[in-house]
């Protein structure tokens, strides 16, 4: 016997059957970003003032390329998960909420692809 009202069933209200997937992904990307960001910031500090050739040589180093791609994936996944929660909390007009979340997700994918393509292009010469 279901305790849900017929109206609630029809409208699809109630659990989204997603469990803690969103929450967990936010934490896992956060954990991944701790070492990745410390490495990235330290590298950028050490390279301050480096010229075009020096920066490209650095990016093209295999370990650096790999770390940068991992950083890109973690950053944009984490950012879009976080921005989604912010929009869900503060935007109360349904169509605007859905539209803004969609824009954030498209932007995150677009920016991540742009970053990864740039890194790979430099890495492969």
């Amino acid at each position: 016997m279901s305790l849900r009202s017929p109206l609630g069933k029809v409208r699809g209200l109630g659990s989204a059957k997603e469990g803690v997937a969103h929450w967990w992904a936010q934490r896992m990307t956060a954990v991944a970003l701790v070492p990745l960001m410390i490495w990235f910031v330290a590298s950028i500090c050490a390279m301050t003032g480096a010229d075009y050739d020096a920066v490209r040589t650095w990016i093209a180093t295999p370990m650096v390329s790999i770390m940068l791609v991992l950083l890109t994936l973690a950053v944009f996944h984490h950012a879009q998960l976080g921005l989604q929660v912010v929009l869900e909390d503060y935007v109360h007009t349904e169509w605007l909420k859905i539209a803004s979340i969609a824009i954030v997700k498209f932007a995150a994918i677009g920016l991540a692809v742009a970053s990864i393509f740039s890194i790979v292009k430099i890495a492969l010469g």
């Binding site: 701790v34 910031v41 050490a46 921005l83």
Partner: protein
């Protein structure tokens, strides 16, 4: 039925501002700022992949007063979000919820993010040979 003019609880305006509430909203604000900052990072990477002229233009902007102020803001936002994010991860693990502990870790986070920002900028200027 849901209606749009029902009172909201809790009333934000009747609470005394506290370190914990201030740090909570700052965590969100720095997160948003960092998300915007990724645009700069992507510009920098695309410029490096495009060519020397484009790269030098982006570098010139980052080296300008406006560029440096943005980088200062983003570097502080990053260290704050990183340190406070670790604080949140400990909370997620169920640790550090005592009021005294929450205030102590809050003060540590603020001090650490300021010190790390200063340290990163000193390192950067030292790498450039300016200091």
């Amino acid at each position: 039925m849901a209606s749009n003019n029902r009172p909201l609880s809790p009333h934000l305006q009747v609470y005394k501002p506290q370190l914990t509430t201030f740090m909570s909203i700052t965590h969100r604000a720095t997160g948003i700022a960092l998300a915007v900052g990724t645009l700069m990072l992507v510009c920098w990477l695309i410029a490096a992949a495009t060519g020397e002229t484009a790269f030098n233009e982006v570098q010139a902007f980052l080296g300008s007063i406006v560029g440096r102020l943005l980088l200062l803001g983003w570097s502080f936002a990053l260290f704050y979000h990183l340190c406070n994010g670790l604080r949140h991860l400990f909370w997620d693990a169920g640790k550090g919820f005592e009021i005294e502990t929450a205030y102590m870790t809050g003060r540590i986070v603020i001090a650490a993010s300021i010190l790390l920002t200063i340290g990163a900028w000193l390192w950067g200027y030292a790498a450039m040979g300016v200091i």
